[in-house]
C-alpha cells in the first residue's frame, strides 16, 4: 500500500540511525582491538610474526566485507551454528576494520625514526617500554587524522549489514521508499543524515591535522 511520505518517516530514519551508530561503535571497538594486535605483529622483531600480520592484512584487504558478513551469518549456520546478526556483524566488521586500522597504525609506528627506538634501548628500556613511553605517544599524534578518516568510511560501510537483517539507516530508507514510493526524497534524507554524521568528523580530523603540522 502506498502512502504519503510524512514527518514520521523522517523520525523513523533518524531512529534507524542508532543502529548505524551502534554498528559503527562495535566495528570500531572490535577493529581497534584487532588492529592493535595486527600493528604490533607488523612491527615485531620476529619475522614469522610479521609475516602472520602481513598475511592477515593482505587476505582481508583483498576480500569484500560483504563476503565476510555472508560467511559469518549464512556460512556458519550451514554447519549448524546459529549466529545472531549482532555476533556475525561484530565478527565481520572487526576482521575488516582490524586489517585497515592495523595497516594505518603500522604506518604510524614505522613513521617514528628507528633512532628513537635505539635511544630507548640504549637507556635500558625493553621493547614494550620503548613502545609505551617513546613510540606510541609519538605515533598517536600521527594516527589521529587517518584513523578518523577510516571511521568515516566505516560509518558508511555499516549499510552493508542490511544484508544480514539489520534495519539501519540505508535499509530503513529502502523500506520507506517501498511504502511511500518517493525514492528521491527519501534517499536525499538518508544521504543528509550520513552527511550530518560524517562531515563533523572530517572537519574535526582536518583541524587535528592542521594542528599536528604546527605542533612538533
Amino acid at each position: 500500500m502506498i502512502r504519503e511520505l510524512s514527518f514520521i518517516d523522517v523520525l523513523y530514519l533518524i531512529a534507524a540511525t542508532r543502529w548505524t551508530l551502534a554498528l559503527t561503535a562495535i566495528a570500531f571497538l572490535g577493529g581497534g582491538i584487532v588492529g592493535l594486535a595486527v600493528a604490533l605483529l607488523r612491527v615485531s622483531s620476529l619475522a614469522p610474526l610479521r609475516w602472520l600480520g602481513a598475511i592477515y592484512v593482505h587476505a582481508v584487504q583483498g576480500t569484500p566485507l560483504l563476503a565476510w558478513l555472508f560467511v559469518f551469518f549464512f556460512g556458519l549456520s550451514i554447519f549448524g551454528f546459529t549466529v545472531s546478526p549482532w555476533l556475525a556483524a561484530a565478527a565481520a566488521y572487526s576482521i575488516y576494520a582490524g586489517a585497515f586500522l592495523g595497516e594505518i597504525w603500522r604506518g604510524c609506528l614505522q613513521a617514528i625514526p628507528r633512532t628513537q627506538w635505539e635511544a630507548g634501548a640504549s637507556l635500558g628500556l625493553g621493547f614494550t617500554q620503548q613502545l609505551r613511553y617513546i613510540i606510541v605517544p609519538q605515533a598517536l599524534r600521527l594516527a589521529i587524522p587517518p584513523t578518523v578518516g577510516f571511521l568515516v568510511q566505516l560509518i558508511k560501510n555499516t549499510s552493508l549489514a542490511a544484508v544480514i537483517g539489520f534495519i539501519e539507516l540505508t535499509r530503513e530508507g529502502q523500506l520507506t521508499t517501498a511504502t511511500t514510493f518517493r525514492p528521491f526524497t527519501v534517499y536525499l534524507i538518508v544521504a543528509a543524515i550520513y552527511f550530518a554524521l560524517c562531515f563533523p568528523l572530517t572537519q574535526w580530523s582536518r583541524r587535528l591535522e592542521r594542528r599536528l603540522h604546527v605542533a612538533r
Partner: protein
C-alpha cells in the same frame, strides 16, 4: 681485567665487511678517541659495545659480560653503558626533565621526586639547569646534545660512548658540547669517543685509535700517535683533516 674487551670482532652487512677482526681493550678510567675516515667502521665498532649492532664473529665483553652472547640481558648491560648519538635522539614529545628521568623511573624504579632532583643535578653539570621544563624543539642543537649527555649521565653509567656527537652541530655550537665532554672526562668517566675533532682528541684522550678499512690500523698514546703517525694511512688522514 679490562672494562671493555673486543676480540677479533667481525661485522658484515650482507657481503660488505665493516669490521674485519677488530681487537681493542679499554681500561677503567681511560678515554679513547677513535678516529678514521667515514666508512672505516668506527661508529659501528662503538655500537657493538652496547649491543646495538649484532656481530658475526669474535667477542665483545663489557665488565666480564659477553655482549654478543644471546643469553646476555642487554637491558641490564645498557644501564651501565651510556651512549650519545650524532643526531641527539632526544624524545621530542617529552620535556627535558622527562627525557632525563624516563629511564631512571621506568628502568631503575627511581621515585618521581628523587628523579626530578636527579634531572636537576645532571642538568647543572651540563649547564642547562634553567631548561628543565623546555621541550627539545625549543633548544639549540648544542643544548639538545648537552641534554642528551645529561640524559645518559642520569643512569650513572660506568662507560660512556660518544658517536660523533659534534658532527651535526653548527661550528659555533661545537665548543659548548666539547666543554661538557671535558667536564665529564675530568670526573673520571671511562669514555670511548668517535670524533673528527683531532685537537680535542689530542687534548682529552689518553689513547687514540685509528680505524681504516674495518681494521684497527694504528693506536697509541694520543699526543705521540697524532704527532708522529707510523702508517702512511694515518698520515694521509691527519693531513686531510688538519688542512
Amino acid at each position: 681485567m679490562s672494562l671493555v674487551e673486543l676480540k677479533n670482532v667481525v661485522k658484515r652487512y650482507g657481503t660488505n665487511t665493516v669490521l674485519n677482526g677488530v681487537s681493542l681493550s679499554v681500561e677503567k678510567g681511560e678515554i679513547i678517541a677513535i678516529i678514521g675516515r667515514s666508512g672505516s667502521g668506527k661508529s659501528t665498532m662503538l655500537r657493538c659495545v652496547n649491543g646495538l649492532e649484532p656481530i658475526q664473529g669474535g667477542t665483545v665483553a663489557f665488565d666480564g659480560t659477553v655482549v654478543n652472547d644471546p643469553a646476555t640481558d642487554l637491558r641490564k648491560l645498557r644501564q651501565h653503558v651510556g651512549i650519545v648519538f650524532q643526531s641527539f635522539n632526544l624524545f621530542p614529545h617529552l620535556s627535558v626533565e622527562k627525557n632525563i628521568t624516563l629511564a631512571p623511573k621506568v628502568v631503575k624504579g627511581v621515585p618521581p621526586a628523587e628523579a626530578r632532583a636527579l634531572a636537576e643535578a645532571v642538568l647543572r653539570k651540563v649547564g642547562l639547569a634553567e631548561k628543565i621544563d623546555a621541550y627539545p624543539d625549543q633548544l639549540s642543537g648544542g643544548q639538545q646534545q648537552r641534554v642528551a649527555i645529561a640524559r645518559s649521565l642520569a643512569m650513572q653509567p660506568q662507560l660512556m660512548l660518544f658517536d660523533e656527537i659534534t658532527s651535526a652541530l653548527d661550528p659555533e655550537l661545537v665548543g659548548e658540547v666539547l666543554k661538557v665532554l671535558e667536564e665529564v672526562a675530568r670526573e673520571g668517566m671511562t669514555m670511548m669517543l668517535v670524533t673528527h675533532e683531532i685537537g680535542f682528541a689530542r687534548k682529552v684522550a689518553n689513547r687514540v685509535v685509528f680505524m681504516h678499512e674495518g681494521k684497527m690500523w694504528e693506536q697509541g698514546p694520543a699526543a705521540e700517535t697524532l704527532g708522529r703517525p707510523r702508517t702512511p694511512e694515518l698520515e694521509t688522514f691527519l693531513s686531510a683533516v688538519l688542512h
